[in-house]
Amino acid sequence: MTNTQRNTTVISVLLALVLASGLFLFNKLRGQYNVVDKKNKDLTAKIVQLDKMLAMKEKIERDYEELKLMLAEQSKVIVQEDNPAITFNYLLQVLKWMKRNINFDFSMSSKKVSDSDWNEYIVSGNSHFMDMVNFIKNIEYQRPLLTIEELSVNESNVVSDTVMFSFVFKTHIKTDGTAMNLIRQKDVPAFIQSYVVFKPRIYDKPIETDIDPSLLRIDKITIVGITETRVFLRDENGIIHILSVGEPVAYGYLYSIDNKQDKVIFKTNQYGTSEDKILYLQKK
C-alpha cells in the first residue's frame, strides 16, 4: 500500500467517523429539539387559549359566579366552612325565611375532623308547634346539609299550642363545598297540615281563656221564663237577659228550648270536649 493509499484510507476512516459521529449527534440533537419543540407548541397552544380566556376574564368570572350560584341552588349542598357563628347565623336566616321568631338556646356539642368534617350543635326552646315543625322542616330540607341526629318534643305543661323541644344536629363541611353566603332559599314542600298534635284535647280543669265578660256564665244564671223561641235568664247581679237558640254564652251557645218541659239545653266545651248543660225553669 502506498503512502497515498494509506493516507486516503486514514482520511476515509476519519470521514466515516465524522459522518457517524455527526449523524449520531445530529439525530440526538434533532430528537432533543423535536421534544422541546413539541412541548413549546403545546405550551403555545395552551397560552393562546389562556390568552383568549384572559381576554374574556371578566365575562368568564361572571359566568363562574353564575355557575357557583347554580351549584349553590342544588337541592342539597355541603358547605365549605362552618363554625358556631356561621351555623347560628344560618338558623337565624332560616327563621327570617320563615318570617317567624323562635326563641331557642344554642350551643356547640362536639367537633369532628375527618375527610368529611362536621360540627354538632344543640338547640332547645319553646315555640308554637307549627313554628317548631317548620323550623325542623327547613333545617332538613333547605339546601345546606344539616342532619338532625336527635329530636325531642314534649307537650307544654299548660294547655296550649306551645311545645318544648330540643334537637341535636350536625353541620357537615367539605373544603370544596359551597360558601354558605351563596346559598339561596329553597321552596320546601308545604306538606304538613296545620294541626297541633301535641295539644291535649281533654283536661280536668277548664281552660283559662279570655271569655267575653258580656257573655253569660251558665253556672251563674237562673231561668226566669220560657217561651217557644226565647228563654229569660237572670244573672248573678239580678239583670234579666233574653236568649234565642244559637246565641253564645260563656264556653258555648244555647242549643234548644223546650217550653213544654221548661228546660233549655246549652252546648259547652270547657274541658276539651263538648258537653250538654241543662237548666230548668225554677217554679215558684
Partner: protein
C-alpha cells in the same frame, strides 16, 4: 521557542573513498560538524558489477507503484550479502547516526548521460523518447532512470541518470539492518552540487571569472563561472591512479583552449589532491589568476572539531559539503534544481502525501465536517433557543394559568359538585326523617280523634312517642305509622267523666327518599355538562385542558339563560304557606314613549341595545353597553333607566355594592323614575339581609307614593 537546527549529511563516493560531511543549518547560518572518510575495499560499482545482473533480474519484476512504503528491502532480492557485509562505511554511518538528519548523496559520473537539448521545457513525450534512445532498454523498462535539465552557459542539457545508485543501496542496507529510517533529500551529480555551492557562496555582485577545480580520486572537473554564471564544465581525463598536477594542468589547459576559455580571475582548488604543491604549481602556471583553496568563509566550524580541522580539509571534502549544503538549502531560490533520487524513494518518504482520491476524500471530509459543524451548531443553537423559549413559555404559562385559575376552576366545579352529591347521599342515609315523622303523626292524629301526643323523642336506634286517645283502636292505627312500630304499653285513666287511653309506641326511623332528589340534581348537572361539552368543548382541569375561549360565550349564554330563569324565579317566587311574599314582583320603569320614539337616534339605538341584552339575559353585554352608554351620554334622560337596569342586574349577581353605585346618582332627582329607585333600593337591602333599611325605603315609598304602583308593591313586600 528556538527553531531546531536541521542536520544534513553529504555522502560522496569517489573511487575507493567514501566521504561524509555533516552540516547543520540554523537560519541562514551553516555549521560544519564533522568531516569523515573511509577507504573502501573496492569500488562499489566494481564490487556490484558481478552481482548486479542477479539483482537486476530480481528487480525486473518490481512495480514501482506497488513498492511497499517506497523502500527497497535488499534482503528480499538477494541472499548474498557478502558484497556489503563488514564494510567500513557501516561503522561510519552508525557513528554519525544518519537518521538524525537528511541525506544527500552523489551519483556516479558514469551513470549520467548528458544530452544537449534545444528547449529546456521538454514535454514528457520528448523526454521519454530521448531517455528511451539513450539508456539500455531494460533500465528504461524498469524505470530505473531519472532526469534533470541543467543549463550551462545557457545551453540546456538533459541529464539522465540510469541504473541503481550503489551508494543509496548500501545506505538502505545499513538502515534496514540497523532498523533505522533514513531520509533521503538529494542525489545529485557532482557538477551540479559543486556549481550550486559556488553560486550560493560566491558574492552575487562578483564580476570575476572563476574556476572551481576539483581533483578527486576518480572525479576531476573544472567548472567555470563568469559573473556568477556557470559557463563551462570541463572534464579532466587522466589515466593515472594518482595523477600529477602537471598532467592535470596540461589536460585543463587543453580543455580551456578547446573551449576558448581565458585564464580565470580566480581559481579555487578542491578535492583529494588539493595541496600546497598543487597550489604552488598552478599559481606558477597561471600568473594572472588568483589561485587558492576553496575555503567557504561563510561556513562555521563546530568548536568541537576546531582542533582537528583545517582549511585544506574543507577543500578536500568540498563535494560532500556541497551535497549537504544543497540538501539544506533546497528552499533557496537560487539553487540548481537537479535531483536524481528515484521517484519511489521520494514518494516513499512523503508520509503525508495525498493523491487525487485522498484529496477527494479530504474534500468530502472537509465538507462533511463543515456541514456537520454548521448543522450541529445551528441545531444546538435551535435546541438552546427552543429550551430558552420553553423556559419562557413555561413561565408565561404558569403565570397565565395562575391568572386563569378561577376560570379553570369553573371547569371542574361541576365534577366537584357531582362528587359532593355522592358524599351528601351517604351522609343523608337514614337521616333527617323528623319532618316526615311529624307530618304523618299530625295527619294521623288529626284524623283519629280524640288523640294527642304528649312526647316524642329518640330512643336507641329509633324513636318513641307517648300519646293519649279516647278511642283504643286508634293505638293500633298509630303503631302502623312507621316501620317496626311496637306498642310498649297502654293504660287507661279518667279525665272527668271521660275514659282515655295513654300509650307508648317505639318505631324505627322511616326512610326518606333523598336519593331521588339528589339524582335529579346529578341529572341536571349531567345535562349541563353534556350540553357544555358538546357546545363549548369545556373540559375538566384534570385533563390539563383549558376552556376554549370561543365556546365560553356560548356556554355562558346557555348558563345565563338558565340562570336568569332561576333569577326570575327569585324575583317572582312561588308563594306558599312557608315562603312569605317579600320576594314579590318589583316594578320595572319604562321611559316615556317620546324619549325612545326616534329609533334612528344613536342614543335611542344604544338604549334599545341595552334593553335587548337585558331581555336576552346577556349580562356582560348589557353591562358593557350600559357602561358605554353612560360614558357617551352622561346627560341623557335615558341614563337613569340604564342605571336602574344595571343596578338590577348587579343585585341579581349579588354585587350589592355595585348596585348601590349604579343607583346612587338617581336619588338626587325626584323624577318619574324615583319611586322605582326606592323600590329597588329596598330590594337590594332586603336581599343583602338588611331588613331594617329595606323597610325604610319601602316605607318612604308607601308614604310618598301611596297610589303609585311601586307604593302598592312596597306594601305587599312589607306584608301589609
Amino acid at each position: 521557542m528556538a527553531k531546531q537546527k536541521r542536520l544534513a549529511f553529504g555522502i560522496l563516493e569517489d573511487g575507493l573513498v567514501l566521504k561524509l560531511a555533516n552540516l547543520s543549518r540554523d537560519g541562514n547560518q551553516m555549521t560544519l560538524h564533522a568531516l569523515e572518510q573511509v577507504e573502501l575495499n573496492q569500488s562499489l560499482h566494481l564490487a556490484s558489477s558481478d552481482k548486479t545482473s542477479e539483482i537486476d533480474s530480481k528487480l525486473n519484476g518490481w512495480d514501482l507503484d506497488k513498492a511497499p512504503s517506497g523502500e527497497i528491502n535488499l534482503n528480499d532480492i538477494t541472499d548474498d550479502e557478502s558484497i556489503y557485509q563488514g564494510q567500513p562505511y557501516e561503522a561510519l554511518f552508525r557513528t554519525y547516526s544518519l537518521e538524525r538528519g537528511v541525506i544527500a548523496i552523489s551519483t556516479h559520473e558514469e551513470q549520467i548521460i548528458k544530452l544537449p537539448i534545444a528547449n529546456p521545457t521538454l514535454s514528457n513525450k520528448q523526454k521519454l523518447k530521448l531517455v528511451k534512445e539513450s539508456i539500455p532498454k531494460i533500465e528504461f523498462k524498469r524505470g530505473k532512470w531519472q532526469t534533470s535539465v541543467v543549463s550551462i552557459n545557457e545551453q540546456p542539457e538533459l541529464w539522465i541518470h540510469h541504473g541503481s545508485n550503489k551508494l543509496m543501496d548500501i545506505l538502505e542496507k545499513t538502515s534496514v539492518s540497523d532498523k533505522l529510517k533514513y531520509y533521503y533529500q538529494l542525489a545529485d551529480a557532482n557538477d551540479t552540487a559543486l556549481a550550486n555551492l559556488f553560486l550560493q557562496t560566491n558574492p552575487p555582485e562578483s564580476t570575476d571569472t572563476s574556476m572551481v577545480l576539483y581533483l578527486g580520486n576518480e572525479y576531476l572537473r573544472a567548472l567555470v563561472f563568469d559573473c556568477n554564471k556557470w559557463t563551462f564544465s570541463l572534464p579532466i581525463r587522466v589515466t593515472q591512479h594518482i595523477p600529477d598536477i602537471e598532467i592535470i594542468y596540461s589536460k585543463l589547459s587543453l580543455a580551456m583552449d578547446e573551449s576558448h576559455i581565458p585564464d580565470p580571475n580566480n581559481l579555487y582548488l578542491c578535492g583529494d589532491f588539493c595541496n600546497d604543491d598543487s597550489l604552488t604549481y598552478l599559481s606558477s602556471q597561471l600568473p594572472n589568476t588568483k589561485v587558492g583553496k576553496w575555503k567557504l568563509s561563510t561556513l562555521n566550524i563546530d568548536p568541537e572539531i576546531t582542533d582537528t580541522w583545517n582549511e585544506t580539509q574543507t577543500a578536500k571534502f568540498i563535494l560532500a559539503i556541497a551535497l549537504a549544503w544543497k540538501a539544506l538549502t533546497m528552499d533557496q531560490p537560487a539553487f540548481l534544481k537537479t535531483n536524481f533520487l528515484p521517484p519511489y524513494i521520494i514518494e516513499g518518504q512523503k508520509v503525508f502525501k495525498i493523491a487525487w482520491h485522498g484529496y477527494l476524500t479530504l474534500a468530502l471530509l472537509f465538507i462533511s465536517a463543515l456541514s456537520f459543524t454548521y448543522g450541529l451548531q445551528k441545531l444546538r443553537r435551535d435546541v438552546k433557543n427552543a429550551n430558552d423559549k420553553n423556559a419562557m413559555l413555561q413561565k408565561e404559562h404558569e403565570e397565565k394559568k395562575k391568572a386563569a385559575e378561577t376560570m379553570l376552576s369553573m371547569a371542574n366545579a361541576i365534577d366537584i359538585q357531582t362528587a359532593n352529591i355522592e358524599v351528601i347521599k351517604t351522609l343523608l342515609t337514614n337521616k333527617n326523617p323528623w319532618t316526615e315523622i311529624l307530618t304523618k303523626l299530625n295527619s294521623s292524629f288529626q284524623s283519629h280523634p280524640i288523640s294527642w301526643l304528649k312526647n316524642l323523642r329518640k330512643d336507641g336506634t329509633g324513636f318513641k312517642v307517648t300519646g293519649v286517645t279516647t278511642h283504643r283502636p286508634n293505638i293500633v292505627v298509630f303503631s302502623n305509622l312507621f316501620p317496626k312500630g311496637a306498642i310498649v304499653k297502654v293504660f287507661h285513666r279518667k279525665i272527668r267523666s271521660f275514659t282515655v287511653w295513654e300509650f307508648e309506641i317505639n318505631y324505627e326511623y322511616p326512610d326518606v327518599n333523598w336519593y331521588e332528589m339528589m339524582e335529579k340534581d346529578v341529572e341536571q348537572l349531567r345535562k349541563y355538562q353534556e350540553e357544555k361539552t358538546e357546545k363549548t368543548g369545556l373540559v375538566t382541569l384534570q385533563d390539563e385542558k383549558v376552556i376554549p375561549a370561543e365556546s365560553t360565550k356560548d356556554k355562558a349564554l346557555g348558563l345565563i339563560t338558565k340562570k336568569t330563569e332561576q333569577l326570575k324565579q327569585a324575583v317572582i317566587p312561588k308563594t306558599s304557606d312557608t315562603v312569605v311574599t317579600q320576594r314579590a314582583v318589583i316594578d320595572i320603569p319604562y321611559p316615556p314613549k317620546n324619549l325612545i320614539a326616534e329609533t334612528d337616534n344613536p342614543m335611542v339605538k344604544a338604549y334599545i341595545a341595552i334593553i335587548t341584552a337585558f331581555n336576552q339575559k346577556s349580562d356582560w353585554q348589557m353591562i358593557d353597553l350600559g357602561v358605554k352608554f353612560n360614558n357617551n351620554y352622561p346627560n341623557s334622560p335615558l341614563g337613569g333607566y340604564v342605571r336602574w337596569y344595571l343596578a338590577y342586574r348587579a343585585m341579581h349577581n349579588k354585587q350589592y355594592d355595585k348596585a348601590d353605585i349604579w343607583l346612587e346618582p338617581l336619588f338626587k332627582n325626584k323624577d318619574s323614575i324615583y319611586p322605582y329607585v326606592l323600590l329597588l333600593a329596598g330590594k337590594i337591602r332586603y336581599d343583602n339581609g338588611d331588613i331594617e333599611r329595606a323597610e325604610f325605603f319601602w316605607r318612604q315609598l308607601v308614604q310618598d307614593y301611596p297610589q303609585h304602583q311601586t307604593g302598592k308593591t312596597a306594601r305587599k313586600l312589607m306584608g301589609y
